[in-house]
């Protein structure tokens, strides 16, 4: 059934110390969808992802993944279940080789044959990573590092991928390339929750979108509808360059 909700947040509240970052965010992601989470700097987009993947605990509210309440489950147990988070700023292991980075993506996998199969798949999607697999990850360009971050996440065999601003700091051509890959992964069956500040990029192919402002969802709707609602979007997101 293609309308099954695989990931949902219900009224999640997240605090950093005394600062409340999320004020009851609810969203849901259906199997096979690309869902965009939009908002200006500081609106709470990354915090939402970090709460979903367990990096920061929710003060209240519920996160469900594949029908299971994962609100209190430790972050390191989620990749194995199929919920994989590609963090803001890529966070690759710079002093390790590209291959080691990919190996770590499949840390919880015990089956070496499967690990090789996944790595071949990643190398097929990102040939540059195959060519430079024995080099240190920090020597990659920004776009290549983003590819490594996504490739590393694919090594975990994700059912749902949380992508935090994959376009950040990339040249327009590289943004297109990364977005093409995101679409390809989606066609291959990976459900995607995409955080973007760049709404034009994200809404081009998102099935559904949410707009966050100051820790609250202020707008939501099908991607095509939001894309046509440019005036409203730019009111919330500020002046966003394409």
């Amino acid at each position: 059934m293609d309308t099954e909700i695989v990931l949902s947040a219900d009224q999640i509240v997240t605090r950093y110390g005394s600062v409340q970052a999320l004020h009851g965010v609810s969203l849901s992601v259906k199997r096979g969808q690309v869902v965009a989470l939009l908002g200006a700097n500081g609106a709470g987009k990354s915090t939402t992802l970090r709460t979903l993947s367990g990096l920061v605990p929710a003060a209240s509210g519920t996160v469900r993944f594949l029908g299971e309440d994962i609100t209190r489950i430790a972050a390191h147990r989620l990749p194995h279940k199929g919920l994989v988070h590609v963090p803001e700023g890529r966070r690759i292991f710079g002093e390790m080789t590209i291959r080691e980075n990919l190996d770590l993506g499949s840390f919880t996998l015990r089956d070496d044959t499967e690990r090789r199969r996944r790595m071949e798949h990643v190398f097929e999607i990102f040939p540059i990573l195959a060519r430079r697999q024995h080099g240190d990850a920090r020597n990659l360009s920004g776009g290549e590092q983003q590819m490594l971050a996504i490739g590393r996440a694919l090594m975990a065999g994700p059912k749902v991928l949380l992508l935090d601003e994959p376009s950040m700091g990339l040249a327009p051509q590289m943004i297109r390339e990364v977005m093409n890959i995101v679409q390809r992964l989606n066609r291959e069956g990976v459900t995607i929750l995409l955080v973007e500040q760049n709404s034009k990029v994200a809404l081009k192919f998102a099935d559904y979108g949410y707009v966050l402002e100051a820790g609250r969802i202020v707008l939501e709707g099908p991607g095509s509808k939001l894309a046509n609602d440019e005036a409203v979007i730019s009111a919330y997101l500020g002046n966003v360059a394409a």
């Binding site: 993947s53 990096l55 430790a74 972050a75 390191h76 147990r77 989620l78 990749p79 194995h80 994989v84 988070h85 963090p87 966070r91 690759i92 292991f93 710079g94 002093e95 390790m96 080691e100 190996d103 770590l104 993506g105 840390f107 919880t108 590393r152 975990a156």
Partner: protein, 303 residues
Amino acid sequence: MTFDLVVQQLANGLIVGSFYALIALGYSMVFGVIKLLNFAHGDIYMTGAFVGLVVFSAVGVWLGNGWLAVVCALLASMLVVGLLGVIIERFAYRPVRNAPRLSILITALGASMVLNGGALALTGGRHFAFNTDLGYSGIDISAVHITYTQMILVASALILMGGMQTFISRTMYGKAMRAVSIDMGASRLMGIDVDRVIALTFFMGSALAAGGGVMAGAYYGSVHFFMGFIMGLKAFTAAVIGGIGSVPGAMLGGLLLGLLESFGSSLPFVGSEWRDVFVFGALILFLVFKPTGILGRSVVERV
């Protein structure tokens, strides 16, 4: 300097240097994963020597005082003290891991005092003889006699360090250890149980220190509650010279420090009582001119 003297100091330097390297390795590994200068590490080494002596004396009844008993003492001490390291991490360091840096540093000083004071209370501050029967046969290079015991000690230390290096570079948990030392948050997103990796690091680092303690105890024939203090400082120095956080750096730093100490104290007009001057002089020079050490990289503070 005569050829004999060079050979003699080379041998001395390698032996003491391989002890330093074993201790420095654990120091460096712990610093790598949680950025803590574990002041208790020298006391872990001391505890390892005592546990080794207890086991050695206990099994000596059946196994005699030879290699078999020493190996038993070594392995048992590595296991027991490795677990002690895990316990210290679990109950002393983990609760303050996310507190300001100074808290965990002070906790480490406290852990050091507990071990040191505990050993003083239990032993009454006496020296205990570690009487092995390992023999003095060996080979002669020119006029210098190098015993098989010395060679075996150095070889054992190198094997332990090589095994550790292989573990860290080849196995999944070794890679996880490096990942945690680079970026703890990103490691969790890989599915790595960071707490478990840190516990493993403490186990291995403490076990190596205990191994060094048993070897040093057996080699010098004596253990004492205060033996860990100076060793902790020297291991720290070795880790800094090699590049703190770097595993090959700790081994290199340890061996270099041992050689520096033995050659330095054999210079004309300089006696062996000067050897600590060379060690800590080197520490100061490195901290001033090359704080990242020989193989270390600068640590980038992550917000």
